[in-house]
Structure formats: C-alpha cells, structure tokens
C-alpha cells in the first residue's frame, strides 16, 4: 500500500517515511503544493498525510481537489495549528483525521492504520495479530476465540501496540495516546506501567504469547515472540 506524505519540512517527512515504511507500506514524499497536485492526479494512495501550510498553496486546496475528483484516498491532516476551528474545517472539507504537531510517530502510525482499516475493510473490522483478534466494532478482544475482558484503556493500548507492531514506542507516546495531550501529568510514567502490566497479564492468562517487552525503561515494543528484540 502506498502512502503519500505531503510535508514541506523535509526532515519531518523523512522521519515519517522511515517510521511508516515496512512490509505493508511504501511512503512517497512531496514537499510543495504543485508536485502534490501532480502526484494525486496521477496515482491513488491508501492514505495521504497532508500538511496544511505548504509552499505554493494550502493543503486544504489539495484536499478539495481530491474530493472534487472523487478520489477515495484517506487523508490525515498534520498541522501546526491546534485549534478546534481548524480541526473542524479540515474534517468538514473531507479529511479523515487531524493531528497536531508535534505528534508522536506511533500516534501517526495508529491514525494512518485506522484510516486505512476504515477505508479497506468496509465494516468487516477485524484486526488480527497471531492468535489475538480484535473486533473493532464490538471493541472485543479474543485470544484463540476466547473473549478477554479488557478495560477501555487496555483495549486502546492493545490496538495501539498492534498498529505499531515491531516498533519501540516511547512511554510519552503511550501516555499521550491514552490520556490525550490535555493532561499535563506525565511527570512520571508509573501509571502507564500499571496498565501495561495488567494488559500483559490478561493476554498471557488467556493463552497468548508474551508480546510486550520493555525496552530499557524507555518504552515498549510489541513483537512476535520468535522475533529478535
């Protein structure tokens, strides 16, 4: 699946591609308005990551262009502007989601994943990871077809991990995903540890392998047991 990153800050664009590129995704990057318009008219993308302020024009105009051509590409706006009005305007114009800079790359990956899932599965919203199965509509988790009783936060955490599988996610990124950026309390991340510990215990008790690993107290990684850390 192809993802188009329209972002004029090349360093950020590079990081996004480096993080998202894997066995499923290939990122293409453009840095200005006109090359972006050219790209979207020529190709279809599973998801477009779109910065609003671009040299040569506004990202919102690219979005309008996409919509007027009835393109089905999912669009995630990344903007330095953090205001409800901008968010609403972006979503009304047809974006699927809106993320404010500075974001965590795992958050971006999770959002992109969600957009692609919504676009491609068309309601049949099941996510699988080995023996773990998530029903996104029912918000249910099963291990080997046995329902695991997870709290809301644990469920969110699991989905977040699966969207970022085989990657190290910093504790800050996890905290922000679970509690949003309104909370200025992440002075210590002890409270994350409790949630991860519980999730891990419940999954293992239900018979799954131990996928969640701590990485030097800096973050966590969700990866298949047989893979090297």
């Amino acid at each position: 699946m192809k993802i188009l990153v329209i972002e004029d800050e090349q360093q950020l664009s590079e990081s996004i591609s480096a993080y998202l590129n894997n066995e499923h995704f290939i990122c293409e990057t453009v840095f200005d308005f006109h090359s972006a318009i050219e790209k979207i008219s020529l190709y279809d993308y599973a998801c477009i990551i779109l910065d609003i302020s671009l040299p040569g024009g506004s990202g919102l105009d690219i979005l309008k262009e996409l919509k007027s051509n009835n393109k089905a590409d999912g669009v995630l706006i990344i903007s330095a502007k953090n205001s409800l009005d901008d968010k609403i305007l972006g979503l009304k114009t047809g974006a699927d989601d809106y993320l404010t800079k500075p974001f965590h790359l795992p958050e971006l990956a999770a959002r992109v994943d969600a957009i692609i899932r919504r676009k491609s599965f068309d309601g049949r919203s099941l996510v699988r990871f080995d023996e773990i199965q998530l029903d996104l509509n029912e918000k249910l988790v099963k291990v080997d077809n046995k329902i695991v009783d997870l709290t809301r936060k644990e469920y969110d955490l699991l989905l977040y991990f699966i969207s970022n599988k085989n990657r190290v996610i910093s504790k800050g990124a996890i905290a922000e995903h679970l509690w949003g950026d309104n909370m200025d309390l992440a002075d210590n991340y002890d409270f994350i540890y409790t949630h991860i510990k519980n999730l891990r215990k419940k999954l293992i008790q239900a018979g799954s392998a131990d996928y969640i690993k701590s990485v030097y107290g800096m973050g966590y990684k969700f990866s298949a047991a047989n893979q090297p850390k």
Binding site: S15, Y19, A80, K101, P102, H104, L105, S170, D187
Partner: protein
C-alpha cells in the same frame, strides 16, 4: 486633593491676606487723615480764641457747640507756651473719644490753660462704615470668586476630565479605543493628541507582542515535531545501548516539556486574542464528572481521598475553555498533593471549588496566577497552568480565588 480645592485654598488664603493687610493699612491711613482734619479744626479754634483774646483782652464766652468742649483753667504764672494734642476718653454718660488741644494763653497778665476738645464720634463713624464696607466687599468678592472659579474652572477643565475618564475606561488589548472630543483649548488638544499617539503606539506594540507569541509558538511546532519524530525513529535502532536510551529519554522529556509550554503559550495567546467567542450552556457538573473519570487512574494511583459533591449547574461559557479550565485545576491539584492526600471537589449554584491538602506552605496569592510562577517547586512545570485558569475565568466573566487554611489549598471559581 482635587485641583479645584487646591486652587481655591490658595486663592482664598491669598485674597483674605491681601484684604486684611489692605484694610488694616486703610484703617490707619484713614484715621491719620481724619485726625489731622480734626487737629486742623482745633488749630482754627485756637487761632479764633487767641484772636478774640487779643482783640478784646478777655476770654471768649464758651459757647456750647455740639461735639466741642472748651475749658479755660487759670494756670499760675507759667509763661510757657505749652501746646499739645492728645486723644482722651471723656467720662460722660456715653463713652466717646475726644481729640483735645491744650495750649496756654495770657489774658490780662493772667495765664490760662485752654483746653479745646472735639468729639471723634463722626470720625469713628466714618472709619466704622469704611471697615464695614471693605469687609463686606471682601466677603462678596470671595463668594463671587469662589462661584466663578467653580463654574468657570469646571467648564474650562471639562475636556481634561473627559479625557481622564476616557483613559480610565481604556484597557490595553481591548478593541475599544477611547474617543477624545476635540476642544478649543490648545493645551488640551495637545494632551489629547499625545495620549492618542501613545495609546496607538502601546496598542500596536501590544498587538505585535501578541502576534509574536502566537507566531513564535506556531513556528516552534514544526521543529519540535522534527525532534520528536527523529527520536521516535532513533529508538527503533536495535543497537541502542541502555546508556544511550537514557539520553534519549531525557531528550524526550525535554521535548515534551517544551511542547507543553508551547501549547500553553498558544492557548494563553488565543484566550487573550478572544478567539474563544462561542458560548454554550454547559452542564458543569457533568463536565466535572467526565474529568474525574478521565483522571480516575491517576486519582486511584496516588490513593487520594476524594470527596465530591456536585449539584446540577448550567454555566454559560466556551466549551473548549471549560475543558481547559478543569484540566488545569485538576492537574494542579493532583500534581501538588502527596500520595494519600485529600482532594475535595464541590459544585453548587454559583461556585466551583477544588481543594487539596498542601505539600508546602501557603502560596503567594499575589503571584500565584502570574505566568511562570513556580511556588518554589521543581522546574518540571512551566508555571502557566494557573495563569491559564485565571485568564479563562477573566474572559468568561468569572472570578477565581485562592485561599489557604489548615494546610489546605482552596481554589474557588465564582460564576
């Protein structure tokens, strides 16, 4: 002291002093002149008596004339030409001042002492009426000048007071600029135009400053995004050692602090720019409950004793700001309460209060809501949270108060 009363005080004091001096001087001068007049009359009388005695060789018959007394007293053989004026008090039924001339006169080999006295009653009367007239003139002039000053000065200074009240209404950063009415007086026009200039200068400086904060914060978002994304990519490196991971963690923490600071500065600048104009009816109790739910893990983790009493209350304010207000107040309370401490939340018809058991002493209530005030704690917080809460209350027309008693910090928002 008001300008009027100050002016009047000086004016009245100097007028009264001048009038008093002038009347005193006038009194003495007048008296001197009038007595001189009487003395002249007495001298004429003397000459008449002398002329009579020379012509007829005897003393004239004393004729009773009103206000005039002539006495002849035989006086031994003194040949001296004694002559003196003096003012005496006659001991009549009515005490009255007399002016007396005493001189010696030889009549037929016999010396007589002649005393001619004239009443000063007329003179005194003149002086009295002169004094009366001048005193009443003083009073009349004083009253008149007071009234005139009051009326004239008030109308003369009216433009000044108009400008003053216009300035008092003025607040920097609010769109309404004071309107100065043009006057016909040069000084006031200069004053007004100077005020207008400095106001527009201050206003544009303030505007620039606000734009600066706004722009600076926006411009910082992208570099912050770059740093954070680079760190997110860096930690994927499996060759990262534990030591390096610790360094990366510190960098993450710094980026997080900076991102929060930036977020808060932006929020503040948006509140000041009145970008949260949409008001809505908010069920404040439901919002508080939602926040408690949101923070429940933290409240639980820190084993707080939580007391909540909420009444259903509808508050009219901006929804985003309501959210930010509660976020900041709750974050503040949670952060500054020790594990196992106590937090009380109460909401009734017109106020919301949040209290927490204190970690440290009373905070400085004058500085508490200032930006970057850190009540002597770690540098971990940027010190903008309460400032934001304060600003939100300001723009929403609420008031926020801090109190401290019995080791408990109280924050009360009055709707």
């Amino acid at each position: 002291m008001k300008l009027f009363s100050r002016y009047n005080r000086i004016n009245i004091a100097s007028t009264v002093a001048i009038f008093l001096l002038a009347s005193t001087a006038f009194y003495f001068l007048l008296r001197f002149v009038l007595i001189g007049q009487v003395d002249d009359d007495l001298r004429i009388e003397q000459r008449e008596i002398e002329g009579y005695s020379q012509k007829f060789g005897r003393l004239p018959e004393p004729i009773a004339v009103k206000d005039q007394v002539i006495e002849f007293v035989p006086a031994g053989k003194i040949g001296s030409q004694r002559k003196a004026f003096q003012t005496i008090n006659s001991s009549g039924s009515q005490r009255e001042d007399m002016r007396q001339l005493i001189f010696s006169l030889p009549v037929g080999g016999q010396w007589y002492e002649v005393k001619v006295a004239k009443s000063l009653e007329g003179t005194d009367e003149i002086i009295r009426s002169v004094i009366l007239i001048s005193v009443s003139t003083i009073l009349a002039i004083l009253v008149a000048s007071l009234l005139i000053n009051r009326l004239v000065l008030r109308s003369l200074w009216k433009p000044f007071y108009d400008s003053l009240s216009a300035m008092q209404q003025f607040r920097l950063g609010q769109s309404s600029r004071p309107v100065f009415t043009p006057t016909s007086i040069e000084e006031f026009d200069t004053l007004n135009s100077t005020l207008e200039q400095s106001l527009s200068h201050a206003e544009s400086d303030y505007q620039r400053l606000r734009e600066f904060t706004d722009n600076a914060s926006h411009e910082l978002q992208t570099p912050l995004a770059v740093i954070r994304s680079k760190l997110d990519v860096l930690i994927q490196d499996e060759a990262l050692s534990e030591r390096q991971s610790q360094i990366v963690q510190s960098a993450y923490d710094a980026v997080r602090k900076m991102a929060r600071l930036n977020h808060s500065l932006l929020l503040l600048s948006k509140i000041e720019n009145r970008q949260f104009a949409d008001l809505a009816e908010i069920r404040f109790d439901q919002l508080v409950e939602a926040k408690l739910e949101e923070f429940s893990e933290l409240l639980h983790d820190k084993q707080f004793k939580l007391t909540v009493s909420l009444k259903p209350v509808i508050v009219r304010m901006n929804a985003e700001l309501a959210d930010a207000l509660l976020n900041n107040l709750f974050s503040n309370a949670i952060r500054h309460t020790n594990i196992g401490g106590e937090i009380r939340v109460a909401l009734d018809d017109n106020q919301f209060s949040l209290s927490n058991s204190a970690q440290q002493d009373k905070l400085d209530e004058n500085k508490l809501f200032d930006r970057f005030y850190k009540g002597g704690q770690s540098s971990d917080q940027h010190g903008l949270g309460l400032s934001i809460a304060y600003q939100i209350c300001q723009v929403s027309g609420f008031s926020i108060k801090y109190q401290y008693n019995n080791q408990v910090h109280w924050f009360t928002v009055t709707f």
